[in-house]
């Protein structure tokens, strides 16, 4: 066990030594990997920011039933009782005009607008959630509710939120595809770097095999080299992302404040940032593994 640990320490030291011996190449490789990884990482951070905006939006289909402004409370209660008895509805929620005003006031950027109105322009309303979220059934239900007394307007909600959700899903898929493509690129970069290292050290590998080094012993420094290169690339990606978000947030802050919002693009969660670095290191290791599997076995003492 002690020997095994010593050999791993030696392999890490050898890998670090190789990186130090080829500083410019190592820095360039880390930059290339970092730039490649920062793109999907940045997209992920951007989506996470947008998600925080749309988190409050209802994605489940629902109907907003607005009552006429002159509707009396008993009339509203009667309508509510009628709606509650409808077996197609899973939830019937009454939103009084006072409650609606409070919600609008709580919305970023609208408090000043409401204050300027001087009176509450909002009507009483019901929010209906059907048991079966079927769009055709929802439209039929909306048409029926429109004919009921005291109803001024019926709105099928969540359509926009669903569209936004669908767009976000497409964006997530695009980012995943981009990440997969760039991950392939990272593996290719590491593969080639390790291939060149193997060719450079051909004599040493051949001699080591002659004097009794196992394949595992010879492979180990290359694995560490690939993983360290990936690790460095991951750290560079995080640095690029942090710097880019900081620069973007200057403009975002200005735009957001014009809407009375404090919205900012946020950096990755610590767990996500760690995942980027570990993923990058794992890809580097994998690239090294492929390269070593292909080229190392070809070198045999003559």
């Amino acid at each position: 066990m002690r020997t095994w640990l010593r050999q791993h320490r030696q392999a890490i030291a050898a890998a670090l030594g190789k990186l130090a011996a080829q500083k410019s190449a190592a820095v360039l490789n880390a930059l290339v990997i970092g730039i490649a990884l920062s793109l999907p990482a940045g997209g992920y951070a951007l989506l996470a920011g947008l998600r925080s905006i749309t988190l409050g939006a209802a994605l489940e289909p629902q109907l907003s039933v607005f009552l006429r402004a002159d509707t009396k409370r008993p009339e509203a209660d009667a309508l509510g009782a009628r709606l509650k008895s409808d077996p197609r509805l899973g939830e019937v929620r009454f939103v009084s005009r006072e409650q609606a005003l409070k919600e609008v006031q709580a919305t970023e950027g609208l408090a000043e607008v409401v204050a300027a109105l001087g009176r509450n322009p909002l009507p009483d309303a019901f929010v209906l959630r059907p048991k079966v979220p079927d769009s055709a059934a929802l439209e039929a239900l909306a048409a029926e509710v429109r004919t009921m007394p005291a109803v001024a307007h019926v709105q099928v909600d969540s359509a926009w939120a669903r569209r936004l959700g669908a767009l976000a899903a497409i964006a997530r898929l695009a980012i995943a595809l981009l990440a997969a493509l760039l991950a392939f690129g990272l593996v290719a970069i590491t593969f080639n770097t390790i291939r060149l290292q193997i060719l450079t050290q051909r004599a040493e590998i051949e001699i080591s095999k002659l004097i009794g080094a196992t394949d595992a012993f010879i492979r180990r420094p290359f694995f560490y080299l690939g993983a360290l290169q990936g690790l460095a690339g991951g750290l560079v990606a995080l640095a690029i992302l942090g710097a880019s978000l900081a620069a973007l947030n200057v403009g975002v802050a200005e735009l957001a404040s014009s809407y009375g919002s404090t919205f900012r693009l946020v950096f990755l969660e610590p767990g996500d940032a760690l995942a980027v670095v570990l993923f990058s290191a794992a890809l580097g290791w994998f690239g090294a593994f492929l390269s070593v599997s292909k080229y190392l076995l070809e070198i045999e003492p003559k």
């Binding site: 002690r2 020997t3 010593r6 004599a203 051949e206 002659l210 004097i211 009794g212 394949d215 012993f217």
Partner: protein
Amino acid sequence: MTCSLSSQASSWRRWLISFSAVVKRYPGGQEGLKGVSFAIGAGEFAFIAGHSGAGKSTLLKLIPAIERPSSGAVLVNGQNVGALKRAALPYLRRNLGLVFQDQKLLYDRSVHANVMLPLAFSELGGREAERRARAALEKVGLLAREKANPIQLSGGEQQRLAIARAVVNRPSVLIADEPTANLDAASAAAILDIFADFNKVGVTVLVATHDEALIGRFARRVLRLAGGRLVE
């Protein structure tokens, strides 16, 4: 017949190294060795003599399984090395000290680092490995030059460094392929003296050479090859 073969095989097994009807055929059909049989006992010192192309290097390469026999058996310590799996080869080679005509040194590191190379994958701890490396360098007279780069050494010194690296793991067999080919007579004799010293402490030594004068100076067993056959 079976009984005779069986008894012959068991007699081969008593030797440290034994070749039994070994044929080595290269791709293209050329035969490097044509039915070679011999045995070397533990602690023996033997020369493999012959002209260039006689099959000396081929014979030596079969012992650490750098090459595999086309037919016949090569036994080292009772182990048929021709049948060893790839994963078992490092453990065989750690028991053999190999010295090559071209030394196969690493010229991008020091004399000391070259000798330390086989110890990197041994079970020895740092201090003991260090002690072994210094002892090996002292034995070949290169301790004072441990910080030098091999390129700064003379041909004879480079060969001595190769010997130090070969013996640092204390192998039971020392195999040298034309170790004196590029050396003057004095350096060649000095190299052979080092081999003789190791042989005195029980190391089996097998040296391939075409230098008849050198063989004549050391009264040792000679296995003479000609055209891939053992002739005496």
